[in-house]
């Protein structure tokens, strides 16, 4: 019994990481309906940015992340402003191909700059520290921090969405682009700000990714699919939904791994397909769409 409880805890904690991967994607998909195939690679890019800052300036990863965040905001803003705003329109396909091209460029650019070697963000003892819960149960401090950060990110983003004028503008643009323009909202600027914010979230995700496991320039696409699954299961426009989606994928994967380590990823995908067949629009979609 305690054993299963441990599995559940592991699953929820893993879900926190996936929710962080997915939160930025949820933001962009919710506001501008952009299927960003480069999202996973952008997280990896952020991880390398943190690594570089940490190495060159001798900072620890947390501080390096804090420094990287404004830089990544600017990068996201510029990317949207220069490139992605031009590709967005009524069609699904051009943004798909543009973000695919971006994905390849980022991956191979990173390969050129950093080689294919595996990297890790080092924090010292806290990496493997854990909190004893009695019985044989222990929670890793880092996974707990990851989940905590995911919840904090969702809380902050919801605060932005529901309590600020900018957030209202985001939601209005997402609801009805034409009328939002009629209301004087410069949707291109809105999109650029949203992408900047998404990159900041991606940087936080990158921190926890890099601490938890090795990373190299090519791991982007695998992370991308979990992020998409979480976003879709959660439902369009709901960040809590995305968090729930991440947790569901995390739980499914952990239970799958418990049955047979080879089934971990498969279990996650099956869970996704089950939810999506029963609820094609996700668990917590917005009222209209």
């Amino acid at each position: 019994m305690l054993d299963w409880l441990g599995t559940i805890i592991q699953g929820v904690l893993l879900g926190g990481l996936y929710a962080l991967f997915a939160a930025g994607l949820s933001l962009i998909f919710g506001i501008m309906r952009l299927v960003n195939l480069a999202h996973g690679d952008l997280i990896v890019l952020a991880a390398f940015a943190i690594l570089s800052l940490a190495t060159w300036l001798g900072f620890d990863p947390f501080l390096a992340t804090l420094l990287a965040m404004p830089a990544m905001f600017a990068a996201g803003f510029a990317l949207q402003h220069v490139l992605l705003n031009r590709a967005l329109g009524r069609d699904l396909l051009p943004p798909l191909l543009v973000t695919f091209g971006l994905s390849i460029i980022i991956q191979n650019g990173l390969l050129e700059a950093f080689t294919a070697d595996s990297r890790r963000l080092r924090l010292g003892a806290i990496e493997t520290a854990s909190i004893e819960l009695g019985g044989n149960l222990a929670i890793g401090v880092m996974p707990l921090l990851t989940l905590g950060s995911a919840i904090a990110v969702v809380l902050l983003l919801n605060l932005l969405f529901y309590r600020t004028a900018l957030g209202r503008a985001f939601r209005a643009t997402s609801d009805d682009l034409e009328i939002a323009q009629l209301m004087g909202i410069d949707h291109h600027r809105i999109y650029s700000i949203a992408m900047g914010i998404a990159m900041v979230v991606a940087t936080i995700a990158a921190l926890y990714l890099g601490i938890r496991s090795n990373f190299d320039p090519t791991i982007g696409p695998a992370r991308l699919i979990y992020a998409f699954e979480a976003v879709i299961i959660g439902g369009l426009g709901s960040l809590w939904g995305t968090l729930a989606g991440g947790v569901i994928i995390g739980l499914a994967q952990t239970f799958g791994a418990k049955l047979n380590p080879e089934w971990q990823i498969l279990a996650g995908h099956i869970a996704f397909l089950v939810v999506v067949v029963l609820r094609p629009r996700g668990l917590f979609p917005r009222a209209e769409d």
């Binding site: 299927v35 051009p94 695919f100 390849i104 991956q107 699919i225 879709i232 995908h269 099956i270 094609p280």
Partner: protein, 352 residues
């Protein structure tokens, strides 16, 4: 001039284009079929690659460009076709050519339940869903130890030495078994590459094609006009799965070695195919032809540059999408108003 005569004139003009295209196409095919008398092995391999990528591109184009089903999961059927070929030839001793066809048919059977799952989703959700389904196929096949599990397996020469017609080819062209096998593979690839656009053309000119155009314009309107959009989409999906399965079988007949990661690779069998179709021009039959030529040229001459080649590929994708979102052929066709394979039905206006 009354409307009737005008319609006839238009049809006549199109018919002329069609017959011209047909005549030159047949000549071209015959030429291509025989080029291998003089060709070097390397060229044959390259041409086989071009043919099966073209065939895959035409299939994806039918699915996404015409039926509006933007799938990022067609690699499921490529891998399925490949594994079925191995299973049928190694396990059941079936002749490889028959196995290719059979693989396609069995893949079509798998496509039905797959469709019931993925058709629950729309638009971008459908794209991601189809990708996840392909991943499920990959992970499931990695579990089958009989087919090599995660590391895969090879096709033993014994399976392909008895291929139908091999003796005839060996005599005709005075070659040994491996080369003869290549020649037959080449012909199969050619048949698929020529057959795929023909299939697309026939589907679009049929009633099903008309239904697809209607659905693409507005599904709700089409349904209210009596079009069963689910059946139309299911029909196309299964048909494309069959074709893709056959192509996958051919690919792995040629490669003679299969593994789940390679057979179900989203990059090789989706990303590059989508690149070819969109860069060439989605929603046109000519587009994928242009796209595959561009892709092959880039790969052939630049692949040695490794990461820089890939960066260039990504840059090409971005630049063309920003400046010619309809693809190279789409841009050319719009500017110069040409069509080699006219599939559009035109509404003729009476002269004012």
């Amino acid at each position: 001039m009354p409307n009737g005569d005008e319609n006839q004139l238009i049809e006549l003009a199109q018919y002329r284009i069609e017959t011209k295209t047909r005549a030159s196409a047949i000549l071209a095919l015959a030429g291509v079929a025989l080029v291998l008398i003089f060709a070097v092995r390397g060229l044959i391999q390259d041409l086989i690659f071009v043919f099966y990528m073209l065939a895959l591109a035409q299939c994806w184009n039918l699915l996404a460009g015409y039926a509006g089903l933007v799938s990022v999961g067609q690699q499921a059927f490529v891998g399925l076709g490949g594994y079925l070929l191995f299973a049928l030839t190694i396990g059941a001793g079936i002749d490889p050519i028959a196995a290719v066809v059979l693989s396609g048919l069995i893949a079509a059977v798998f496509a039905v339940p797959t469709a019931f799952v993925v058709f629950r989703l729309r638009g971008p959700y459908f794209a991601i869903g189809s990708w996840v389904v392909a991943e499920v196929y990959r992970l499931v096949f990695a579990q089958f130890k009989q087919l090599g599990g995660g590391t895969g397996t090879s096709l033993p020469p014994s399976a392909t030495n008895e291929i139908f017609g091999i003796e005839w080819v060996k005599e005709m062209f005075e070659v040994r078994s491996p080369a003869a096998r290549d020649i037959i593979t080449y012909w199969i690839a050619l048949a698929l590459a020529a057959g795929a656009p023909l299939l697309v053309y026939l589907v679009l000119r049929s009633r099903c094609g008309l239904a697809l155009f209607a659905i693409r314009d507005s599904e709700a309107t089409a349904e209210s006009a009596g079009v069963d959009s689910f059946r139309a989409k299911l029909g196309v999906y299964v048909l494309v799965a069959a074709a893709t399965g056959m192509i996958g079988a051919l690919i792995y007949l040629q490669k003679a070695r299969i593994s789940p990661d390679a057979a179900f690779s989203v990059l090789d069998w989706s990303a590059y195919v989508i690149f070819i179709v969109i860069i060439g021009g989605v929603g046109t039959i000519e587009g994928p032809i242009v796209g595959v030529i561009v892709f092959y040229a880039m790969q052939h001459y630049l692949a040695d540059f490794g990461t820089w080649y890939l960066i260039l590929l990504g840059a090409v994708a971005i630049v063309i999408m920003l400046f010619a979102p309809k693809g190279i052929w789409g841009y050319v066709a719009q500017r110069y108003r040409v069509a080699l394979f006219p599939v559009q039905r035109m509404l003729v206006r009476p002269h004012e």
